[in-house]
Every structure is written in C-alpha cells, then in structure tokens.
Symmetry: C2
C-alpha cells in the first residue's frame, strides 16, 4: 500500500532547495512513498536532477504562485493557485494522503481549515508535536493555533493527543496531563479547572493523569501534554531557548582552555548522541490535529534533514490512519457528555 505526499515546495526560508533535498532523504528509506511537488518547475527540475530523483516516484505540479512568509492569512486565502493551496487541495480531493509545508503558519492553518474542514466534534484544530523527554517521547498540544481556548477545546485536544500518542508514539495507554501552575490545591484558571473536572468525570481519555507543572513536561511525567496555544507556544519556545543557552555555554566552555578542548575530544561521541536526542530537527513536523486530513507543518527555518523529519511524521500518520482513529474516538464519546458541561459537540 503506497502513500502519496503533497509537498508545498515553495514554503519556508530554504525553499525549494531544502524541500527537494529533504524529499530525497526521506525517499531513501521509504521506497513505497510517492511525492507530488507543488511549485515552480523551472526551479524544481534542476534540483530533482541534481538529487537523481525521477518520475514517477516524484512528480511536479507546476505553479509559480507562492505564499510569502509575512502574508496575512486573509490575503493568502484569496490566492487560488498558490503552491500551498494546491497541495492542500490534493489531500481534500484524495490525490494525496498528506500535505507538508514549511511555509507561513497562519496562512497554512487558515487554508487547511477551509479546504480540509475540521472533524465532526472538533471546534478548532491544534498544532501538536512530539517532544523529547527524560523517559522517551511525549506529544504536546496546542503549540500556538489557539491563543484562547475553552474547556471544550482542551478536552478535544486531550482526546486527539491520546490517539496520536497511541498510534505514532506506539504507547498502549498514554497518560494525559493538563498543564497548570503551582503546588497549592485550588490553583489554576477557571478553564483548566473545568477541563480537569470534565476529563475526570467523563472518560474521554483512558488514562487522565490530572494537572502537571512546567518542569514535568520534559521530565516525561505524562505522554500527552494538553494546554492552550498561548501557554504551549511560550513553553515550547522557552524550552528551545534553554537548550540554546546551555548549548552556547557548552560550546564556549569546550573552547575556553586546552584542558576543556581535550575533554571535548574524549566526550565528542557521547555529546553527539545527546545532541541527536535533543536535535530540534529530529522533532520537526507538527501536525494540525483535528482536520479531516493530514496536514503537517515544518519549521520554516529548518534544513533538509529537518524537512525529512516532517515528511516522516506525515508518512507515519498516513500509515497508521491517525485521522480515522481520532474520528472513531470522537464518535465513541459524545454520548458521555452530560450535565452542566457546556459543549459545542452537542450542537
């Protein structure tokens, strides 16, 4: 059973070069995957030739229209023949199993929502991403799609995150935690408290852990970290900034004396392994969960290796039929919603 990916070849800082190189890397280990590249064929053909990539495994759908990184979503929606739009439409029309873009996040989310539509029972899609932890990998959502969230939104994120953890991280009974603050009992805002109560009373997720705090995210206390897009975005970027700070201090430190330089030579293989384990490129590829189709966002500033990771997330999601499983979970659960909890799912 082969998988077809629709790839926006014109999105992101290094497009189309890193896109083509990323596709070449991904295809080395996925002979069963076909790729449709949406973009300027005059620029794509020489790149494909250089990489030794040939049809029919990779084909080009030519368009010269591309969405700039700073274009407002409303303007992006008006462009009918952008590479981003055409790639998303390929999924909606069944020509591809997943779409991947490193382009403008706001435009991509807006287009994906309009073209692919949200799943029945989902009010708003969330941006999710696997993250490295002390115990392995977890998934965190929302990472910035929804600045303000209701308890409904958060409960839906919990359900989708649990399915993602089961199918993509291969965890049999993923635990779900709700990000909150402080040690004292009645802490937190009204929305996280309401979500906590709902997830405790209704068995939307099999394994609801309760609240977690910021320092427990990367400790891997839970497999699924649920939060609103504002907090999630700040938390993930703070973690990235902390990693960058420590890496910078170590890079400087290992150059600071002859002893440290010798120490570096002996430690290099071990440091390489840690670097790989925490390499942001390895975790590149954030699916928009909640859509009626697979759409994966690559970081705009990534390289070919990072873009390959995003392609692999899409391949994994298509192969394990994550969307169908989310749909099934949603169908299984609306009946559980009762008494007092105001849910848009009932409408």
């Amino acid at each position: 059973l082969s998988i077809t990916l629709a790839v926006d070849a014109m999105g992101g800082d290094g497009a189309p070069d890193i896109v083509v190189k990323g596709v070449a890397l991904a295809l080395q280990s996925h002979l069963d995957v076909n790729v449709i590249l949406y973009g300027d064929s005059a620029r794509l053909i020489p790149l494909l030739t250089a990489e030794g990539i040939v049809a029919p495994q990779v084909t080009i759908q030519h368009t010269i229209e591309a969405i700039p990184g700073d274009m407002k979503p409303s303007a992006a929606l008006r462009n009918r023949s952008s590479s981003m739009r055409l790639a998303i439409e390929a999924v909606a029309e069944g020509k591809a199993d997943a779409v991947i873009s490193a382009g403008n996040t706001g435009a991509y989310m807006a287009l994906a929502k309009i073209i692919l539509k949200t799943l029945p029972g989902i009010d708003r899609p969330a941006i999710a991403r696997p993250i490295p932890t002390m115990r392995g990998e977890s998934v965190m959502l929302d990472l910035g799609a929804n600045i303000e969230c209701t308890a409904d939104n958060l409960a839906q994120f919990a359900l989708m995150g649990a399915v993602f953890a089961k199918k993509i991280l291969n965890l049999s009974s993923p635990s779900v935690g709700l990000l909150n603050v402080g040690e004292e009992h009645p802490k937190g805002n009204a929305i996280v408290k309401e979500t906590h109560q709902f997830l405790t009373e209704n068995k939307w997720v099999d394994n609801f852990h309760g609240f977690i705090e910021g320092d427990q995210i990367l400790a891997g206390v839970v497999d699924v970290v649920v939060t609103d897009g504002f907090t999630g975005n700040v938390a993930l970027k703070t973690a990235e900034g902390t990693y960058a700070l420590i890496k910078n201090f170590l890079d400087q430190g290992f150059r600071s004396s002859i002893f440290a330089k010798i120490g570096y030579l002996f430690s290099k293989p071990m440091l390489g392994k840690i670097g790989q384990k925490l390499d942001p490129r390895h975790y590149n590829g954030a699916p928009f969960l909640g859509l009626n189709g697979i759409a994966v966002k690559s970081h705009g500033g990534t390289d070919a290796y990072g873009f390959q990771s995003a392609l692999k997330v899409a391949i994994d999601m298509a192969g394990s039929k994550v969307i169908q499983h989310i749909r099934q979970e949603l169908e299984r659960h609306p009946a559980n919603i009762q008494t007092g909890f105001e849910s848009k799912l009932m409408q």
Copy 2:
C-alpha cells in the same frame, strides 16, 4: 548604615537547619547585617551555637507556631503568632528592613499583602526573579502570584521590573519586553495587545522593547520579561525542566564510557563554571514586588547556599531602596494615563 532582616526560621523543607546555615553563610560577607530569627528558640539556639553565631548580630524572637507547607492561605491568616506572620510584622513595624521566608508561598503572599499592604498605584503584587541569560541577567515577573492579569497589572509589573533591573541588576536603561506568541503581526490575546499599546503610548518605562517570544527570554533579548503569573510560572518551570533534562543526559553520558569519563575529568572545571552560572540556588530569592516593604520568597526545597542567595536579594533590595524608587516612579507616572485606557490607578 546597617540592615536588619526578619527571617522566618520555620518555613521550608529544611527549616530551621538550612535557614540558620544560610544566615551564617550570608553574614560571613555582610558584617553590617543584623538578623532576627522568628522560630522555636529550643531548636534555634543549638543550631546558632554550632555555627558560632552570637548576639547581638543575630537574635531570636521565640514562637512555636509555624505555617505548614500545605495550609490554605485563609487558615494561615488566622494564626496570629506564626513565625511567618511575626517576621512580616517586624517589617511593617519598622523593626526590620526586609522579611525572608522559605515557607508556604500562598500563605506568605496573603499575609504579606495584608500586613505590608500594596503600594499606592499597585493593584496586585507580582513574584519576580532574576534569571541567567546569554547576555548576563534579566528579571522576570509575574511568576505565579496572579493567574489572570489585566493590562493594568502587566503595565504595573513592567514599571516595577524596570526599577528592579536598574537598582538590583545595575542596568542604566533596562529594556522591557512583553511575553507573547508567534511571529505574525496581530497575534496574542487582547490583554497583551492592550498592554503593548499602553506602554508604547505612555512612557511608563523608558525603554519598551515590545513583544518577545519564549525563546528570547534566556537569549537575554530584554532585561525585564513581563507576563501574567500563569504563563510566567509555566515558562520558568519549563526552563528549569529543560535544564534538568540536559543535566541528566550529560550526567549519564559522562558515565557511559571510559572515553567520556576521561573527557569529564578534563572538562570538569569548565562544567563547574557553567553549573555555577546556571545553578538555580544562585537565583533563589524571589521578591514580592508591589508591596509597601521588602518580602523575599526562598524556594522551599533549597539548601543553605540557596537560602543565602535569598537573603542577599533582600539585603540588595534594602540597600538600594528599591521600594522607595518604585514608589517614586509610580508617583511620577499616573498623570500620563489618559484617554480610553481603563486604569484602576485613576480611582
């Protein structure tokens, strides 16, 4: 001019032992500081004797009442003779210049607010803390006192943070950033946008940088990071968790092979320096800014070295008269508030 500290000797996991040891450490480099310890003299006297600390530099105000770590603030308020309360009252009564406690945060904040009162023009105090960055040190607030904040609150935090950075971090014109998400223009919730507009239009802080994102906190892009207590608490704890994750990976890695072990021996002095620079104990001591008096919170689980850091924050704040400077800034600014911005400062 000597400084007197009122110390809650019974608060925190290691009290009173680590409190007395922390006081001993701090006094080694601060001969001009006097300390009043509030707590059980039967337990404190042997500890003081062991440390060779004598009156009159350190005196004891005896009480056997202590606030447990899990007591609700409302219950803590009813206890009239707790070590925490008596220490705060010493500041209100002018017997001490600052109070320090490693006890129950919620109780400490509630008691400090009631006893010391907020400064005129401040609606709610914030928990602040210096943080290590790529460029040196910054200060971040609020770290958890206020789960939900108005634009008024955030503007007040900005003003207080700038004064703290000027007087305690010794920066001549500290830049102030407002924590937000995403790269696109109109992002963020209504409150951060309103605060942004206010700080841009009214010159509450001399050097308003605008929005920053999570990864810019530890990069040191700004000297003062302003955010609500929910986001600030999650961000700071996420940074701590990231540090713990990387430290754990490095500790394991340096033990993983004979080469890595040799590498560790050569790198040890350099790693020690980085460890010191990022040591959470070094940044222990979070002032409650906005009160009419100096109250510093120590982490409950810290050791003597960490408690010493909290004492030093209090000493620095008393010595540089931060509270008076905040009061002056507030008096200088209310007149700037005009047109449309609904501020409780006007009431």
